[in-house]
């Protein structure tokens, strides 16, 4: 009798404990998701660790921990956390996508491609894996054909995405197809304006394409690019080119100096600034920029 009573108590306690764990897991998942949505990465990391300590098999907590570590640039730790989630059975597109990005940041491209393809398989309607694969083909492999294939696939799934449209235009521009590039940049710029997004790239692209034939238009586009993405040095460089095309050397120098302030290691900007100084008759400043340009070329190479 006593044995039976003890068994019943244990059973009730066990059920209560199980219910508590289920309740905790559901509550944890909600809190972690909210923290991620609010971009509170440090807190997300702490709460995820806490959840893992209470339940070492909480794969969602590992996923969120890995996601927080991605945001805090701890890529090795991110891979380890995301892999822990994967080993505990998490196998959705978000996991593969995030893990793929972590591999990418560690220059592990074989694994990156594999994870992105796994993400595509699990969520064929998601455009982002295609977008990331496109960026990889464009920036790491320099394969414009394969890059465009991926961006086109992304565009089918997300026809209004301005990032994708911009990259499609970027591929055409790199292939010398400026009319097609312009078409995509215009569509991307319209979508950016519609969403009032902080994304200056299509405007920079339009400015680049217009600078020789229509410098006034280029200037307006470059200004728009600067306004939308004010910390991107290449926007200021494009602005400087537009001013130069309009024969406004002083303003061009100011814009180029702003580009240097945002990125002091870009050799192209330094050379352009050298040319501008030379044109304006500032010999000493020109000589200084030329020296820096040569140092940058020696340090980083010509690419």
């Amino acid at each position: 009798m006593q044995m039976r009573f003890a068994s019943v108590v244990l059973l009730i306690l066990g059920l209560q404990l199980q219910a508590q764990v289920v309740h905790d897991a559901a509550s944890d998942a909600r809190v972690l998701l909210d923290l991620a949505r609010e971009h509170r990465w440090q807190e997300l990391s702490l709460r995820a660790r806490d959840a893992i300590q209470r339940d070492p098999e909480n794969r969602q907590a590992y996923f969120w921990l890995g996601s927080a570590e991605m945001e805090t640039q701890e890529f090795m730790q991110a891979v380890q956390s995301l892999r822990a989630a994967q080993k505990l059975g998490l196998d959705d597109a978000a996991l593969h996508e995030q893990l793929g990005l972590a591999y990418y940041r560690l220059n592990q491209f074989v694994l990156f491609e594999r994870e992105m393809n796994a993400a595509v398989e699990r969520a064929p309607q998601d455009f982002l894996p295609h977008y990331y694969l496109g960026l990889y083909q464009l920036t790491i492999r320099s394969d414009l054909g394969l890059a465009r294939q991926q961006f086109d696939a992304a565009a089918v799934l997300a026809p209004a995405d301005w990032k994708v449209m911009y990259q499609q235009g970027n591929c055409w521009e790199k292939e010398g197809q400026n009319e097609k590039a312009r078409e995509y940049y215009l569509r991307s710029a319209a979508a950016v304006e519609k969403d009032n997004a902080q994304f200056g790239w299509p405007f920079q692209g339009l400015a680049r394409l217009a600078v020789d034939k229509s410098p006034g238009e280029a200037l307006e586009c470059a200004k728009e690019a600067v306004q939308r993405t004010p910390h991107e040095y290449s926007n200021y460089l494009t602005l400087a080119h537009a001013y130069k095309a309009l024969d406004q050397t002083d303003k061009a120098i100011e814009a180029a100096k702003q580009a240097v302030a945002e990125n002091s290691s870009d050799a192209e900007t330094r050379y352009f600034l050298f040319m501008l100084y030379r044109k304006s008759g500032a010999r000493e400043a020109a000589a200084q920029e030329l020296t820096t340009f040569k140092e940058l070329q020696a340090a980083y190479g010509s690419q």
Binding site: N107, F109, V110
Partner: protein, 258 residues
């Protein structure tokens, strides 16, 4: 005489050895990064990289190369083993692991600039001293050649790259100076130590002390005294003590001659 001076240098050089090129190397360059072929391979590799216990690192590297004998990450794994062996005071193990790292990537600056000074400073009593010093000399020279060819990582500002490059060049020149002094080649030692001093915007006392010792070895007491004086001014304390003793010795010997 030369050996006792080198012993003095040994203390100082070891104290100033820095982990050169820790952030450089193939993994930092997207175009050259060795690729893991499986997730398990990369998991184990990350286990090596993130472990802070040198004994565990050594064990992990052994497991890694056993499990993935053809891994393209093996060279970097051996580099971690080299540092772990160095931390545990296992000189021969460090040497062996370093050589394996170099077999995978002969331009590995981190490995070249760990092995060269460590060997130059630690082989005085060994039977294979001459061979090891020759290897150290070759590694330091290879580091200088590799540094000339190495491009800065794109994400580094120019100033950071220039400072790091000069620091690594200094390390290599100092090693070559120590070896030259050991071989009683004071002219080369002076040249190498002078290069090390010239590369640094604010050389520390130890660098002037080494240059002073080499100048003394060459018989140039005036120049030696000048550098000893700078070493005494800059310190730190052990350097200051040696420099002041040397200055006294120079003054005494000059007085005797007079």
């Amino acid at each position: 005489m030369v050996r006792s001076r080198t012993w003095l240098l040994t203390l100082i050089v070891l104290a100033s050895v820095l982990r050169a090129g820790a952030q450089l190397g193939p993994l930092a360059d997207p175009a050259r990064a060795p690729q893991a072929q499986t997730q398990e391979e990369f998991d184990q590799y990350l286990g090596i990289v993130t472990d802070t216990d040198p004994k565990q690192v050594i064990q992990r590297v052994a497991q890694f190369v056993h499990a993935f004998p053809d891994s393209r990450l093996a060279g970097v794994a051996y580099q971690y083993e080299m540092h772990a062996r160095e931390q545990t005071g296992d000189f021969d193990g460090m040497l062996a692991a370093g050589k394996l790292a170099l077999a995978a990537n002969s331009d590995n600056l981190n490995t070249l600039l760990t092995l060269a000074p460590a060997v130059a400073n630690a082989v005085l009593e060994r039977k294979d001293r001459a061979e090891l010093l020759a290897e150290a000399q070759a590694w330091a020279s290879s580091a200088l050649t590799a540094l000339d060819k190495t491009k800065a990582p794109r994400q580094w500002p120019l100033e950071k790259w220039m400072a790091e490059k000069k620091r690594m060049q200094t390390e290599a020149h100092e090693t070559l100076g120590v070896i030259a002094l050991d071989e009683a080649d004071s002219a080369t030692a002076v040249r190498e130590f002078q290069a090390a001093v010239d590369l640094q915007p604010a050389p520390d006392g130890a660098r002037f002390l080494r240059l002073g010792l080499a100048l003394l070895e060459r018989g140039d007491k005036a120049a030696a005294a000048k550098n000893m004086q700078r070493a005494a001014e800059l310190g730190p304390e052990p350097v200051r003590t040696i420099a002041l003793n040397q200055l006294k010795a120079i003054a005494t010997s000059s007085g005797l001659k007079k």
